[in-house]
């Protein structure tokens, strides 16, 4: 990996005519590289519409400035009333990403997986190697099922689903299925309401009471934070419930430090109080809900606020006050975060919180609701994704491999075994649980291809790496799972080096496969990427957004015309059409039909601390923390420990601490802070360039209780990670 030198970076840039004679870096090209007159030459300035495609609530609308073919600046597009002309710390680093000397510049082959012994090859050589491997596997095993795709959320642009399309065009294949992110909560709301729908986040300002429950928008949705604070300024009380005193909790009127994974107990204790004090909205329940009598019987027979206090670690009077305030403020809103459902009982906890919103009649109201996420604006054609399998493809369909236990399931796959991986928009070596097992799976392969922009740990375990374009170098279209805007992504600059869009890679690989074996791949062998954007649209999308042609998006992003208050029409998408507190559908998936409490996992004696590994503010998973501007702010992971715990363990600030369990260990400097509880340590998940850091070495592939219905696989209990710590 280290062989990728600055010199070769410059060689690459010279080929694009963008190097400008700088010695070894791209900094300050405005000041020193260009002649001043040239730099301020207005005629060479162009603006483009771009969309941030990362796995993030905010999906920002970007305006990019291009001067003489060089991306010189990115700004928020003020037309988007949710992102309000602003980006985040990550978004503002995009020029550094595009022009990073660390980018993968051309196809490369590694002689010895993990060796770092990379050599540059041509695209034609890469396609030939890949096509021959695919065809060889097909011949040897009689199907393409030994080929496994692991692609997920590195780029949520709609066209990028063409990567799945590429695999379909080979035949039946194995697929990493499910999502590590949010599936337990999706199933919960699917059982309760039929699917996930959230109010427009701009509607947060209409709340009179807002519970931010296991969510940290100050780090993960900065644009939502404006609306949260605006609600606060208009008199809304903000309550944050979280095992960690997050940045968001620091801005709340009230912070409740709950014991992790006991959120359901708090919700049920509140529900019991609300029931006992006749604060329920009986009329709403009668008109809109099923199973509330059974739920109330369960509360009466099984739940007390004393029990809830014992479970959650919150005093009984606090729970009762919270319940009363929540139930009497109208409208009252709850934002349910993804962090709190990454537990073995996460789905059941979300159902209990949903039930709170239902029994108080807050569902379907502006300023109310139980916000989680939505997929209402995602009704594209998936033209790039839907590809026919070649005629006579062997096998009855694709084979699902659990994305949340990827390493073990890849190794265990039989008849046929998995022999080849295609990795795109993902870095499983850093982000998946049980890192050591994932590594073994990579090692067991005959052939691994990764398409990416940087030499991350998954690339390091690949045979072939293919350089892919950034958003500024290609076309795309983006919507959000949180706000209701639609944004075009225009190509603003020429692709750097030899990078290509994943769909272009699919087209050219298809051409090669068909040369070697006609009919072996159905993916189109040519096409214009801008035209392919257009092929994703349909009248449903046009009507929803009030446009008649997708090219109107060249003038700026647009927002849906209606549907900004979830369930306002009272038409739930359950089989009964009602809010189902009693869910027969949940029963079918092996759950109890009511949102009853499911016991949380507790630490064992040897591993008395729970490690929570939330998002960090300077990255999104494996992206952005590797860029030099981020490194200048922070370039070192750390472990957060409560002062009393640190004292007990003889740990001082910055001491190296080994965090370990039976799966593995990591060593990190201590940060002593009262933002964590005594029985909790916090390590923010991230990929740091050139650092052997990965919090997932100790994380077991332990499923969350729900996720199978909506996403095909249960979620992942990332925060049920029990460890011990020692000073080293």
């Amino acid at each position: 990996m280290k062989e990728i030198s600055r010199r070769s970076f410059l060689k690459g840039t010279a080929a694009t005519g963008a190097a400008l004679g700088l010695s070894g870096s791209f900094y300050n090209f405005l000041f020193s590289g260009l002649e001043p007159a040239q730099a301020s030459d207005e005629t060479g300035i162009q603006k483009f519409q771009n969309a941030c495609p990362r796995n993030c609530y905010d999906t920002c609308s970007i305006l990019s400035t291009v001067e003489n073919g060089i991306l010189t600046k990115v700004e928020g597009n003020p037309q988007n009333t949710f992102t309000r002309g602003r980006l985040c710390a990550k978004g503002y680093t995009y020029t550094r990403r595009v022009y990073s000397p660390d980018r993968i510049k051309y196809p490369m082959r590694q002689n010895g997986r993990g060796s770092g012994n990379w050599e540059r090859i041509s695209w034609d050589e890469a396609y030939t190697l890949i096509a021959k491997n695919i065809l060889k596997i097909k011949k040897e095993y009689g199907s393409t099922l030994p080929i496994c795709l692991n692609k997920y959320s590195g780029n949520f642009d709609i066209m990028h689903y063409g990567i799945e399309g590429m695999l379909s065009s080979f035949g039946n294949t194995s697929r990493a299925t499910g999502t590590p992110c949010w599936p337990a909560g999706i199933d919960s709301q699917t059982f309760d309401m039929g699917t996930i729908v959230n109010n427009d986040p701009e509607d947060l300002v209409n709340s009179k009471y807002l519970i931010l429950w296991g969510v940290n928008p100050a780090w993960t949705s900065v644009h939502s934070m404006y609306f949260v604070q605006e609600a606060q300024r208009r008199g809304c009380k903000i309550v944050a419930i979280d095992p960690v005193l997050t940045q968001t909790a620091s801005k709340a009127d009230l912070y409740l430090q709950i014991k992790p994974s006991t959120d359901g107990a708090l919700a049920l204790g509140m529900a019991r109080y609300i029931l006992d004090h006749n604060l329920i909205d009986a009329k709403w329940l009668m008109n809109n809900a099923l199973g509330y009598n059974e739920f109330f019987d369960y509360l009466k027979n099984n739940i007390t606020t004393d029990w809830a206090a014992e479970k959650t670690g919150l005093p009984k009077n606090v729970i009762e006050t919270l319940a009363r305030e929540y139930a009497t403020a109208k409208p009252a809103n709850i934002w349910i975060g993804y962090g709190m459902q990454r537990h073995a009982n996460g789905g059941q906890n979300v159902r209990a919180i949903d039930a709170l919103a239902a029994i108080t009649g807050n569902i379907g109201k502006s300023g109310g609701g139980a916000q989680y996420a939505h997929l209402e604006t995602w009704g594209f054609n998936y033209h790039a994704m839907v590809q026919n399998k070649p005629a006579g493809s062997a096998g009855s369909g694709d084979r699902a491999i659990n994305i949340n236990n990827f390493g073990a399931e890849v190794l265990a796959a039989k008849e046929p075994p998995i022999k080849m991986l295609w990795i795109a928009c993902r870095n499983p070596m850093s982000q998946d649980p049980e890192t050591s097992v994932v590594k073994k799976a990579f090692e067991a392969m005959d052939f691994v291809v990764t398409a990416d922009q940087f030499f991350n740990p998954s690339v390091a375990m690949s045979d072939i790496v293919l350089p892919v374009t950034t958003i500024f170098e290609t076309w795309g279209v983006n919507v959000s799972y949180w706000h209701y805007w639609l944004c075009l992504n225009q190509q603003a600059i020429k692709p750097m080096y030899e990078s290509k869009n994943d769909i272009q890679i699919a087209m050219e690989l298809s051409k090669k496969m068909n040369e070697l074996e006609p009919g072996s791949c159905t993916f189109p062998t040519s096409g214009d990427l801008k035209d392919w954007v257009g092929k994703e649209f349909n009248t449903g999308i046009y009507n929803q957004f009030g446009i008649s042609d997708w090219k109107e998006l060249e003038k700026g992003p647009v927002k849906t015309k209606a549907g900004h208050v979830a369930w306002q029409d009272g038409k739930f998408r359950t089989s009964s059409g009602k809010y189902e507190i009693w869910s027969e559908e949940a029963k079918k998936f092996g759950h109890l039909p009511l949102p009853v409490y499911r016991e949380e996992l507790k630490p064992a004696n040897e591993y008395p601390y729970r490690c929570i590994s939330p998002h960090w503010k300077l990255n999104i998973h494996s992206q952005f923390q590797n860029l030099d501007w981020m490194q200048a702010i922070n370039n070192a992971p750390f472990i957060e420990i409560h002062p009393e715990t640190a004292q007990k363990m003889g740990i001082q600030e910055k001491d190296n601490v080994k965090m370990y369990n039976d799966l593995g260990y990591i060593v990190l400097p201590a940060k002593i802070t009262e933002t964590v509880a005594q029985d909790i340590v916090v390590v923010y998940e991230a990929w740091y360039k050139d650092k052997n850091f990965n919090v997932n070495y100790t994380v077991k592939a332990l499923p969350a209780d729900m996720g199978k219905k909506a996403t095909g696989m249960p979620g992942m209990a990332f925060h049920d990670n029990f460890v011990n710590i020692a000073k080293v």
Binding site: S25, Y27, N28, F29, L30, F31, S32, T72, K73, V74, E75, G76, R84, G85, R86, L87, C88, A89, G91, Y92, T93, T95, R96, A218, W219, V222, H223, M225, Y226, Q229, L245, T246, Q247, T248, S250, K251, A252, D253, L254, Y255, Q257, K259, G313, L314, P315, V318, K617, L618, D628, W629, Q631, A632, I633, H642, E644, T673, E674, T675, A677, Q678
Partner: protein, 183 residues
């Protein structure tokens, strides 16, 4: 003119700092604006509070006083401008500034700092940092016009303002109620 930093709104997200770097495409280790965490023991309850600081455009700028080549000027509106063309990179200003504002650009062998987006202000635009702040915690205020009420001249961690009389003003963070398990 000076910055008003609302520590009650600020979420320490670094968008201001990155927007500054994006605007000027600055060197990785040259940070005209920096977001500093306020030590959590400074207030009655531990919280994550921050100071977002750039040049304080002082009333009595030490940088200007010590610079041997007069690279610093103070405009009538109060903005302290550093002229990189005159700068010889002697670092006297860095040593004199109590706020570690002027920074050395290793490649250019000169100092640099926040000029309060003078070019943008002159075009009627907001500073890059103010325009970027997602929660509107940063603003540029007319130092002569504003009331002293509601604002403070320092927050914990901000060096003694008496030496150079910075124009930066702050709104204090509000400490919310906490129910904690270690109480």
């Amino acid at each position: 003119m000076g910055f008003l930093v609302d520590a009650e709104r600020c979420i320490g997200c670094h968008a201001c700092e990155m927007a500054c770097k994006n605007e000027y495409q600055s060197e990785p280790n040259v940070r005209w604006r920096k977001v500093y965490p306020i030590n959590e023991t400074e207030y009655s309850l531990p919280e994550r509070n921050h100071l977002s600081l750039a040049c304080n455009h002082c009333e009595k700028p030490e940088c200007l006083r010590v610079c041997p080549v007069r690279a610093y000027t103070k405009r009538e509106d109060g903005i302290v401008i550093h002229d990189q063309g005159r700068c010889i990179g002697c670092k006297m200003c860095a040593m004199a500034c109590p706020y570690e504002v002027p920074q050395y650009n290793v490649r250019l062998k000169k100092m640099e700092k926040c000029n309060l987006c003078d070019g943008r202000l002159d075009q009627g635009l907001k500073t890059a940092c103010e325009a970027a702040c997602p929660v509107e915690a940063l603003s540029v205020i007319d130092f002569n016009g504003f009331t002293k009420y509601g604002f403070v001249i320092a927050l914990p961690g901000f060096p003694d303002p008496s030496i150079t009389k910075p124009t930066t003003r702050f709104i204090k963070p509000r400490i919310g109620a906490q129910v904690r398990r270690d109480q």
